[in-house]
Amino acid sequence: MTGEFTRLNLRYNPFEPAASGMPIMPTVDRRPWVPERWASPLQRFLDEMQRTQGTKAFAILGEYGSGKTYLLRWLEQEELPKRRIRAFFFDNPGVQFYDLANALMRQLGREEFAKALWEFLSPRLPGFQSSLFGNTFQEWLRTVKKHRRQEDAIRELSRKIQEKGIANIREIQYKLARLIVETYERPYFEYKDFVAGRRGALVPEKEEAPFFASILRALRLIGGAESVAFLIDEFEEVSLQKQLTKRQAHEYLATMKRLINLTEREQFWIFVAMTPQAAEITEQLEPALLEERFITHGRIPPLNAEEAKELVTNRLAAARPEQNAHVDSLFPFPKNLVELLREDIYSSPRRLVKVCSVAVGRAASEEIPAPFTAEYLEQIQEELYPRPAQDAPSS
């Protein structure tokens, strides 16, 4: 297959056929590239809110294919780690508060989370020789179980949880401690663990928000991070899985409000990506959410000609062979690529990438001459995104 691309001075097709989210190799140095106009509002927001108090929530608005997921991934992989913000990515998390807790804890894994927290807390059980507990988390859990010291272990862990400032409420301290100790019997989370009020639930009833805040604090402390960020993609798709009742719709918005409230008090950030329609309906149903709470929201601007060219150039550069001949940076595309594309194509990252993907893929297999001609590109554009037939005016 590589051979077929050699003629195009590429090792592979750097454009994915169904552009959605982050490609495996976006640039030469593997670091995701975003246009300056996309990055700067988010960077300004991060700069400002890292220094001041207030709601740390940002809504990224964009149509389908405008690059919302890509921008969230850029935050996750590039911008947030630079600022020592630990990022968690959520794709369509569900409508209720425990759905989010569930999604978060499953992402972390119970054993991993419990182990990290245990290491951070370093509990000491009185009356036991330290050698009895061994050095590893698993050995400690086994010994506690064997000597029936679960209650003592929970008490000690609760004390440490308070001492380290993870939780002040006793019930939350107890539940978190239980989460660690019971990992021996059940090293995984179940959905019911996060449904407050259910028997054996790890979330205390009516204390979901403080519990969540404690988890966030724990995550920050055990990860040595300055703060934690949630990146929530496809906000508008939550209702796709099932038809939401009016109550569920409001529950979803209530979840968002509670999370946003947390961002004011905790070292916690939220970035939500949504379509303009989702923003509009959210604003109508819950005006405070976008007007006052989400103090910042920004629309992803469509790519301009320069940015479109840069996107293509970056992708091509990542796929060039090591002994790169001195070819034009846009080869196998012509130098005036963007001029040959329609405004509605090059302004949309998904459309642009898709057109480029088909152009390169077809050229590799069908011996299409390079640089590509205007007719060839026009044909692909029309195939993928045909212009609608013109209607005659009528009365």
Binding site: E63, Y64, E236, E237, S239, L240, Q243, L244, T245, K246, A249, T275, P276, Q277, A278, E280, I281, Q284, L285, P287, R299, P301, P302, N304, R342, E343, D344, S347, S348, R387, P388, A389, Q390, D391, P393, S394, S395
Partner: protein, 323 residues
């Protein structure tokens, strides 16, 4: 007194009934009317069922209240001496599946001049002090009216109010009023005769407004308004189509169909400068509680040829120059 307006009334069926009765100058008895409707022409309701005797009752009752039929000696006759009835008789073309523009316009005149329809519904749309109005004045001067469900003393009621004069309002408390106004007159004006349209907005409710029955596509006033609204500074301007509909619909008295047909014409003619932005169908019906309500919410959206519901439209500034 119970109100007589009902949503089960099809104006196509009313037209057929008028044509049938007009053939019998001596008048038609109830029984004959039912036999004709149910056995001879086998009239169907919108759901495709054979009309019931009750539906035939509502048909003749509606025509009698609208002043198109009179009853003399137990026989229903066409009230030829009343205003517009002769015009209607000349205009109607029975046998077609839809009403012609002229038929719709004439029926609209009967509905708008009916005292019950005015008192309970159309008066709400009229500016303060304007009580003497006909179809033309209603279309020219009528103001938008919102209907929405509210809770009052623990009960769910419907509230209708004039957007420009909040004091002008009506509460619908009984099922009879609900059937007559929301599913009767409102439905006739919006769906059957097309001289009123409506868009659902989550925060407000159903926004109803008068619309002209005829007009060109593309509509020049919408093309002008669009040209004006495109930002000269930004490369692309994004419009919420429902916001446009809720603003330009009442302002230019244009139905959603004509407005969206105009925007579709723009999209087809200048496709490189226009990007349609679809929405998730389930988000568009986020607050809907039933399939019927879902359909009602979706009717405010423009649906493109691929069946996608379009919530927004992105327009390039070059459109300002080329359109």
């Amino acid at each position: 007194m119970a109100l007589w307006m009902r949503g089960s009334v099809s104006f196509v069926a009313l037209r057929e009934l008028i044509a049938y009765i007009a053939q019998h100058p001596e008048g038609v008895r109830t029984k004959e009317m039912e036999t004709w409707a149910r056995e001879k022409v086998r009239l169907r309701t919108q759901s495709g069922k054979l009309v019931s005797k009750t539906t035939v009752y509502h048909y003749r009752n509606t025509l009698r209240h609208l002043g198109i039929l009179v009853v003399a000696n137990g026989r229903y006759q066409v009230a030829r001496e009343r205003p517009f009835v002769l015009q209607l008789l000349e205009a109607i073309r029975p046998g077609t599946p839809k009403l012609s523009l002229q038929e719709r316009e004439l029926f609209a005149r009967f509905v708008i001049q009916n005292p019950d329809c005015r008192e309970y519904f159309f008066d709400l749309f009229m500016p303060e002090g304007l009580t003497d109005y006909d179809l033309e004045v209603f279309l020219e001067k009528g103001q938008p009216v919102v209907w929405r469900r509210v809770e009052l003393e623990g009960k769910r009621v419907e509230e209708l109010y004039n957007v420009e004069q909040n004091k002008k309002q009506r509460l619908i408390r009984s099922e009879d009023e609900r059937q007559a106004l929301l599913y009767g007159v409102r439905y006739w004006a919006r769906n059957e005769l097309g001289f009123m349209d409506e868009i659902f907005l989550e925060a407000i409710g159903g926004l109803m407004f008068p619309v002209y029955l005829r007009g060109p596509v593309p509509d020049p006033s919408i093309l002008n308004a669009l040209r004006e609204a495109i930002s000269a500074q930004e490369e692309w301007t994004t419009f919420s189509l429902r916001k446009l509909a809720a603003t330009w619909g009442p302002r230019y008295r244009l139905s959603l169909d004509r407005l969206y047909d105009t925007l579709e014409w723009v999209y087809r003619k200048f496709s490189r400068y226009v990007v349609l932005i679809p929405t998730s169908e389930s988000f568009a019906t986020l607050t809907a509680t039933s399939h019927q309500v879902e359909k009602y919410h979706l009717r405010g959206y423009y649906q493109d040829e691929n069946g996608r519901y379009i919530s927004h439209m992105r327009v390039h500034r070059k459109l300002k120059e080329v359109m």
